[in-house]
Symmetry: C2
Subunit: 223 residues, 2 copies
Amino acid sequence: AGAPQARALPAAAAVELVHTYSLIHDDLPCMDDDSLRRGRPTVHVAYGEANAVLAGDALLALAFEVLADAEGGCGAEAVAWCTRALAIAAGSRQLVGGQADDLAFAAGGPPTLSRVEAVHRRKSAALIAASVTCGARLGGATGDSLAELGVFGEEVGVAFQIADDLLDADRNEACSLVSVMGVERARERAEALLASALGRVAKLGERAAGLRMLAELAVRRDQ
Amino acid sequence: AGAPQARALPAAAAVELVHTYSLIHDDLPCMDDDSLRRGRPTVHVAYGEANAVLAGDALLALAFEVLADAEGGCGAEAVAWCTRALAIAAGSRQLVGGQADDLAFAAGGPPTLSRVEAVHRRKSAALIAASVTCGARLGGATGDSLAELGVFGEEVGVAFQIADDLLDADRNEACSLVSVMGVERARERAEALLASALGRVAKLGERAAGLRMLAELAVRRDQ
């Protein structure tokens, strides 16, 4: 059924669909009320609020359809595994819960390392972890290596979010590690998470070259 | 793995989760702007708009998690089949597309039988059909009988929606079969669809007693 990279593509598409749905809903007037996304008008600005809610809903459903369609190439067990992992990452315990925490963050008292990282883990890192584990599962990985890749993805995800906070340091967001520990220590924390993550995939050798490159790009970026 | 009825329960739960998510989003101010649902305040009235959007999102994701968790009792192939069927029923081609059509209905010109039934099929009947086919698939049905049960569900779904229009005849909704053909002919159309649907499950005998009862209840109700 083709190379592991090709078999993993439905996982990439499904995660991208979940990510895009969450951006459309996060941008809504009742949430972050953003009018620009990637330099262009947000969906509710361009097409109205009702269509933005519906477009997000449709993309979330489509993510699971895309996964189900991978059955022919990857087998039903892998599809069921990824369906569960993606549903959990997208649901109330992770992505949706993290967004709810983020909206309520300022009202919950002063930011602390543990409060900020809890939001980062749920809102950003869980979906990045799901992208790694679902891709690996469709590509044929099982057992302990999947669990280790999940932690790799979570560490990279939290570090990615710290890098985001560092780039946005002048926006003074409430839920930001920079506002808790300053620029220097936040940068050190991101590098420590990246080093830990890279250690987890060291034994995969050349097979993890792509993962290593993406992890470094995600954390050491300047935009 | 237990009786077919018990094995089908995850499908019932998943469909109910999709249905409830769609009601929460349909009630939003930017959609139908309803403040009461089942005699109680709608979610956005009780908990705010952001939480209503997020609650709907979380329920949609949970529907797919519940299906995935049926793997142990029903097998991965049945889970993948239901995931695909439910994702299609909930997505842009059915439920979400039907709601978008409904919102734009009045602007699309005068109501006609085909315009109204197209919305009914997408917005109501598709999910009812998915509830029948997913339940049957988890219970062990395959092939032609699944296709026939899908048409049964769709006919019952359209008849259910006509019954709804008959009960709401005094609300004067734009997208209503009553406004197209009047009370008497709308009632005849619902009965004809019900008769056709019942004919499709006649050969299943006693095994379809529950389906027959639900179909009759859905169409011949007074609330």
